[in-house]
Subunit: 143 residues, 4 copies
Amino acid sequence: MTTFIEQKTISSELAEQMVRAAKEKARELGIAINAAIVDAGGNLVAFSRMDHAPLLSINIAQDKAYTAAAFGLPTHEWYDLIKDQPSLKTGIVHTKRLTVFGGGYPVRCDGQVAGGIGVSGGSVEEDQACCEAALSLLADKAI
Amino acid sequence: MTTFIEQKTISSELAEQMVRAAKEKARELGIAINAAIVDAGGNLVAFSRMDHAPLLSINIAQDKAYTAAAFGLPTHEWYDLIKDQPSLKTGIVHTKRLTVFGGGYPVRCDGQVAGGIGVSGGSVEEDQACCEAALSLLADKAI
Amino acid sequence: MTTFIEQKTISSELAEQMVRAAKEKARELGIAINAAIVDAGGNLVAFSRMDHAPLLSINIAQDKAYTAAAFGLPTHEWYDLIKDQPSLKTGIVHTKRLTVFGGGYPVRCDGQVAGGIGVSGGSVEEDQACCEAALSLLADKAI
Amino acid sequence: MTTFIEQKTISSELAEQMVRAAKEKARELGIAINAAIVDAGGNLVAFSRMDHAPLLSINIAQDKAYTAAAFGLPTHEWYDLIKDQPSLKTGIVHTKRLTVFGGGYPVRCDGQVAGGIGVSGGSVEEDQACCEAALSLLADKAI
């Protein structure tokens, strides 16, 4: 019998570095963001709101990170999944915390979901660029 | 005067067997699902999440089961009911727990709603196939 | 295998009569109440707020009825259950909808819980008297 | 830098077996329970409500399992932690989902929290006995 499963989950240290990288990108882009990291279980690990970042985005950033970790897909891929299925397009968007627009990405380790990042405060493209800056740390041999 | 109504409600034992049948079908399909059964009152009787099934689907499965038991319709029939009525299509989807896409079915006994099953984790069609595998137990003379 | 369980649940007609009886008693006592009836699944069947009855009691009445049906005990018996167990006394009172003071009673049919009644608006004793007036209908051979 | 942490989390199969063991113990004790298992992230893995188990306990069982996994302590140890600190005793019990009475235990693997079990429906002592029956599977060399 399988009794326990081995699961990789993001460390607090990596989570902080990813948030820092996302904020650095935001500064480059001249925007103020909220950035959130959740672990493999969808629970918050790190969060930061830059000065003057929109309050409304505090929860959006967290929900994007949650959605990405809890389903294993970048949030911007959701719309393509549902756009041609009217019942999903109308209905699934009401799922608590589900975010179907860009700015959330799973954080993977050896192919498995080990957490999620969500950014909110800029345009969708800007939010995505901040996430991608953070995710590029993972490819970086230095860490 | 009618003082009390006789209501059939799904047993814990049948609920467990239905969850097991849904998971067996999921394994056949190569997917990992969340499966939930509620009773005639919409209250949770049985739930199981397979290894690596999406966390986001934990509540979706339960809400599908609830919707099916609480209205007496398979969840996939909802969209046809509302699609040509703009006010319903826009509005009723905000009803708490209402799920208007496939993967939830009422469980009937002698024609009356006696519970509901909900599955989430695969595509709508896959979720429905898992429910149907579970519901086929009811037609089976062996139980 | 047990597939379905037979459950008695309160009819809409009896629920209305019980609410009416509770309100009649309230008028006798010179108070204005909220009265609620739930079925065996804890779902609302009948509700009435008398003119000038306290708004705060709208939910209290419903929670009393729910607690009584969902645990099978009059709400006033809860305090005796928990008063000598400090951890329960401190903790269980935070359970969503649980009401540990008088004014809620299960409605039984042949010994099984088939619903619940809750009254709020007067003193505990007055609320209980209104419930008891409603419950006396059940003993009455005329129904 | 620590990038990812290895975490053991309870499998669906073990969760099902623990629920089954808890229910078997409940049958021995002549009670009807709700039993829930959550994983290392506090997310529901398995749930079962026995026929005639109290509806009120559906959420209590899940909250006990969550509390145990989310803090790494059996729920019955909470009261001793807070009883001599009036501010905690008054305040911390309002924490969402926190349960400070017996019937919830962490599920450990190699000393680390890998999930939680919660049982509700009997007395505190009965609920604990059901959990312990389930936890004894972990010590059993057969699994």
